[in-house]
Each structure stands twice: as C-alpha cells, then as structure tokens.
Symmetry: C2
Subunit: 387 residues, 2 copies
C-alpha cells in the first residue's frame, strides 16, 4: 500500500477552468474555439523583448544567477517603480522571482506557519487561497459587495475579520476577476491597520498597469516606508504579454533581502539570466507596446459593454481595471453548467465563477485581452446563448 | 514595530559558500580568481540547445504552458529514460519542473507536513535539508562513513534512524559533495524497506549521468513499479550544462499526475515553452556534448588525483561519479578558515565543508567540471597552501 500524499495536498481542488477546458480537448468540433477563459494577452511577447533574450543566449548567458536577480534587472525595476510612482526604492528592496505566482509562494513561505490566518477578499484568483493552504494556513474570505452596481470592500468588515491568529492580509488590487480597485484612501486605511496591529500585508499588484484612464492604478508602493510590514507582488506577465516567461518581482521591506535570498535559494534558486535580460528590455522599451495593447483591449471592452447592454439577463458591473468582464446571468446559479453550455453551444471558452472561491458561484469570467475582431466574433456567438 | 517573518524562515542559515564568495566581491585582487566553489560546468549550454530556444521565441512560444509540461518534452523525457534504463515510463509519470530545486520543493510539499521526519545521509547539499525545514519538517541525518578510503552508507543504521514519524527518506546518489553512490543492491534494499514501512523515497538523481566509466549510475528508475512510493528528481543542469535555465523533472507514481499538476499550479504554475523546447533539443542532440564534457572533466579529475597524491596533508577519497573532489586537510578543523585562506592566498574559490551540514565540517569541496588547463592552473596555486 502506497502511503498517502500530505493531507494539505489531498485537500487541493483542481481548477474548474482546466476541467472545463478538458471538455474541449481532442474534439474537432472545437477547432474554431475562442478561448477567453485564461488571463492572458492574445499576442506573443513584443519582438524586441524576445530579441533581448535571444541575444543573451548568443552571449552564453546560461549560468546560475544571484538568488535576488541580476543587478541590471533589479536596477531597472527600481528605476521603473521610482519613475512611475515617484518613489525612491533602492535595489535592496527588490527581489526578482521566477513568476508572480512564485513571488506569492515566497511571500507565503516568508510569513505563514500552519494555523496562521490570512484574510483576503473574494471572489479571487484560486491560487491566492491555495498557495496559503499549502503552508497549512487558513484563509478567511471577506466578500466584495455590489453597491450601486460597483464592487466594494467594506473595510470595517475586513478589519473585523482579522483576529488574534491573523498573520497577514492579502489585497489584490486591481482585482482578478472583478476588476475591483482599492482607492488611495482605502490603501492608507489598510496600511494604518496593518501597522497598528502588526499584521503583514501581501499586495498583489500584477494588474497595476492594466487600467484604461491613467498610467497606473493606486499602489501601496508610494505609501509604504522601509519598515512597513508589506510585500508587493508584481509580474511581467500581464503588462508586457510575458505570461509564458515566468518572471515577477517582490518589493520587500528594508533589511530583509538576505532572508528573501535564502527563501529563493531554497525554493527554485534563481531565475534565468536571459529571461531577466528580456525583462530589462521590456521595462525600457515596452511602454509603446503596453499603450497599444491597452487601446486594443479597451476597444474590446467597449464592444463587450455595448453587447451586454442588449442582453437583459446578463449583469456585468463595470470594471475600471484589469482585463476581465465578470458577469452573472439571471436565473443561473450553476456557473459551471452555464460555462459548459456556452462552450458547447457557442464554442467560446469562459471561466466558471465557482473557480474563484465560493463567492464567485453564479458568475462567469471573460478575458477581453484580445483583438476587437476576436471580441466581436465571440460576442456574436455569445449573444444567442445569453439572451 | 514590524512583525517578524515566520520562525522557520528566521531559522534558515545563509550559505557559507556565498559568504565566502562575498569576501572576493569588488576587490581587484580577485580579478584572476579561479572559481571552483559552485557545482556548475564551466562552458555555456551547447549552441544547438540555445538555438532551439531562440527558434521557439521566433515562433512566438511565449504563452502559458500546461502545469505538467509540454507534451513533446514529457514524451522526450519518457523516451530518454526508457532508452537509457530499459524502462517503460509513459508521459503520465513525468512532471516537468522549473528546476531540479523546484522539483525537490514540489516533492517536499507533496509529502511533508510540519513535524514529519525526513531521513537522509550527510554531508549533503544544503538545500536538501533547508527545503524540508521550510515545510516545518525535521531532517534526521545519518553520516556517510569512510571505510577503506571509500564513502559508504550503513543501511542498517539508516533504517534504524527511521522512526514512527518518518514520512520520507531522501537518497542523493551519486551524491553531492562526496561522489558516494548507492549500488543496485543497496537501492533494492532501500526500496524494499520503503515498501514494507510505507515510507516515501525522494531519489535525487541529478548526477546520474555524471559518471566516468559507464553510461549512467545505478538508478531507482529501473527498480520501481508504478505504485511504489518513490519520487525521482532529475535536472538538465549538470548533464547538459543548463544550470541557468531552471529545468528539471520529477518521475512520479501512477495515478498522481493530477495532484502534482495542482502542486505546480500553486507553486510557480508552469515552465516556459521555449525553455522546454530547448530541453527537447538537449535530450535529442546533447549526447555528444555530454561525452565530450565527461572526457574533459575526467582529465581534470586525473590531474587532481595526481596533484593530491603529492600533498600528504590532503586526504581525498576517490569519487566514481559527480564532478567534485571532497577532501580534508590534516590538522584543519575549521574548513571555512581554510577556504578563506585558500581564497586569499591562492585566489581559488572552494566551498567550505561546513556548508554541507555539520558532518561536512573539516572538509572542502572543489568542482572539477572545468577545462584541464583551468584545473592545472588551480592546482599550481593550491599546492603550496595545502603542502
């Protein structure tokens, strides 16, 4: 008899998105499937960024790199944040990670012991819970609430959820899947609470630049001091269409770099040099690409809004940021069943809301980081099903 | 007052190799330093492998990949092992990981809960302990013993160390830093014990191909059945000079792929497609490179053996596999002090044995995965200090 895997691993839930995607695997019927279920831009990484990686490989950049990341990337990241946010981070505050997900893993390892509680809002990206559960920590979810057709977090309710075992809170703003954002005042309130109560804040800001009416969403980066108990998670994935590269970074408090270097050493050791040099290029030369992408995705977003306005059963609160439509369909409680119907009838792949914690049940997520032509085709197919 | 990091993280020890390396940073005196302290081949990755990655980037392979790895790489890995070992693994037994280190992290997450015990041999690569400690597990070390000038593991002593809390054992064969190998009979005994006692085995076989008198070292791969409680860790790093790529794989029991896919999703999600396609190329076209590398490293090994024969104070048991000389120096108890002396007097970087668990104290590790010319120069500098 083979012994069991650890209980935490047995308790993990498979991704409902992946289960649904499996329904479409291997059948010719889905050859023209429009996939809007993943949170991924539809274009490959800008060519100039790919070239930077290729050149690094030409130069033989294939050796181990420092745990914290190569200095040119850490310098570029500090400069990027300082230019964008008006901050003054030094490289000792920056840790390069092998993906935003790994940044979350490292943050979780840094802070949480079994039995610790992490408080966050829901619905949320499933990994935000599962990563903590792998540490044996307990995740307490505070639901976002719809007021006047907009998502809001009741901060008092959020603070009330923080008890004596609460070691950390996690704020994902702009949020996946809702597009909810915490404004500057709310961020200051959260920060003040964390300082007073000695609670760590993990701020997942991977959608910080995916916003349509300004250069960046509100950030904790321009509010924290060097000693604040805050870890900011960021990634190259969404901003520069680099999902497949696995490149992210953590902004950490002063004086902790040595500990985070060790955490990296004992998790995946380091990130490839050529990947990091591609990251330097993305930061330096990626802004025109980002502006063009946002313009495309905003067009798709408008098409979506106009189409949904014609579908009285569909209810889609407006999102100011990220690249998702998060919508409910009147009379539908089982979002997996609806997503499956849509997959089979419309050949459009949407993410069932139940994937995003129980608070997401009854909703569906659609990624609009696609060309307006693709979105128009998808909407043509969706409209009859959602009517 | 900023709250502390988790107690496990505060207990982590920084790498003594890195501390020593810091002594040489920024001083012109070390411009001609010969670095033999890391476990890394001295040449960049073969050009054909780099080209494969570059071509994949040309083709726009920059999107998310499946958690378990892309099918072409999993097929190539199964075929590689089946050809080499005479086994018949299917792709459902193969999980691609973002480095051998990450394979160990995922294995540890899969098996260990806080308070669990993992039994292993020592001295050993520091990550082998630290990774388990990050899970809150306890590592019990059984020392390798020198008999007739060769490293051996007393299996009875190893089994006696396995108590009721022992969830897993870890065997690293061929071993870093000693070059010790567990022979086929020993592997069968270990496997039998694990089966009878319901204890998991993590077999770290990243040095399986780094051997000078045959195609591969003894492996658990050709001894396990699909239901055995064994996870085999492997990596592209040492075999194909791909340390900087972060590409490894796990061979897992039947029926567990779904769990390991989830573990991957909730750790770093996936490995870059272009990296994986480079891995396919390394498997298909990397054998001539490996043979040439082994011939070079074997030459360096012989130079080393001959030079050490002239140094009566230096005691270096022969290693049949891996690419390290692991030696003691008569009258020296503090290996960090000796490594520091060697660094400053000879400008050769060696790893102090204390880095490899307390059992390594008094010893030094030298990586001979370098050109014979480099080794000759290093030995010229080392001899006066070790005389």
């Amino acid at each position: 008899m083979r012994p069991a895997l650890s209980a935490k691993v047995q308790a993990l839930q498979p991704s409902l998105i992946r289960e649904l995607a499996n329904e479409a695997t291997g059948s010719a019927k889905f050859n023209d499937l429009i996939q809007l279920w993943y949170g991924e831009p539809d274009l490959p990484t800008p060519e100039v960024v790919r070239r930077a990686c290729q050149q690094a490989l030409d130069h033989g950049e294939t050796f181990y790199t420092p745990n914290a990341g190569i200095l040119p990337l850490r310098e570029a990241l500090a400069a990027y944040m300082n230019d964008l946010y008006g901050t003054s981070f030094g490289v000792e505050r920056i840790l390069v990670t092998g993906s935003g997900t790994l940044a979350l893993t490292i943050a979780s390892q840094a802070l949480l012991a079994p039995g610790d509680v992490l408080v966050t809002h829901a619905p949320h990206w499933p990994n935000l819970s599962a990563i903590q559960q792998l540490r044996g920590a307990r995740v307490v979810r505070v639901p976002l609430e719809l007021h006047d057709g907009r998502w809001q977090l009741d901060l008092q309710r959020f603070f009330d959820a923080c008890g004596p075992d609460t070691r950390a809170m996690l704020i994902n703003s702009p949020a996946n899947p809702t597009g909810w954002m915490l404004d500057d005042d709310g961020q200051l309130e959260i920060l003040d609470f964390c300082r007073r109560r000695g609670i760590w804040l993990i701020a997942d800001e991977v959608y910080n630049r995916i916003i349509y009416d300004r250069t960046h969403a509100p950030t904790f980066a321009d509010k924290i001091g060097p000693d604040d108990p805050v870890l900011i998670v960021n990634s190259f994935s969404k901003t520069w269409a680099m999902t497949g590269w696995r490149l992210g970074w953590l902004t950490i408090p002063a004086g902790l770099l040595g500990r985070f270097e060790m955490l990296t050493e004992y998790t995946n050791s380091c990130t490839p040099a050529a990947t990091q040099l591609a990251g330097v290029c993305a930061i330096r030369e990626g802004e025109p690409y980002l502006r063009a992408s946002l313009a495309r995705w905003d067009q798709s977003r408008r098409l979506l809004r106009d189409a949904f306005a014609q579908l009285p059963r569909a209810h889609c609160p407006p999102a100011e940021a990220a690249f998702y439509a998060w919508f409910a369909c009147e009379g539908v409680a089982d979002s997996y069943a609806l997503a499956s119907d849509i997959l089979h009838e419309a050949r459009v792949g949407l993410a069932p809301g139940g994937a995003f914690a129980p608070e997401g049940e009854g909703w569906l997520r659609l990624c609009h980081a696609v060309a307006p032509e693709t979105m128009a085709r998808a909407l043509e197919r969706l409209s009859p099903v959602l009517k």
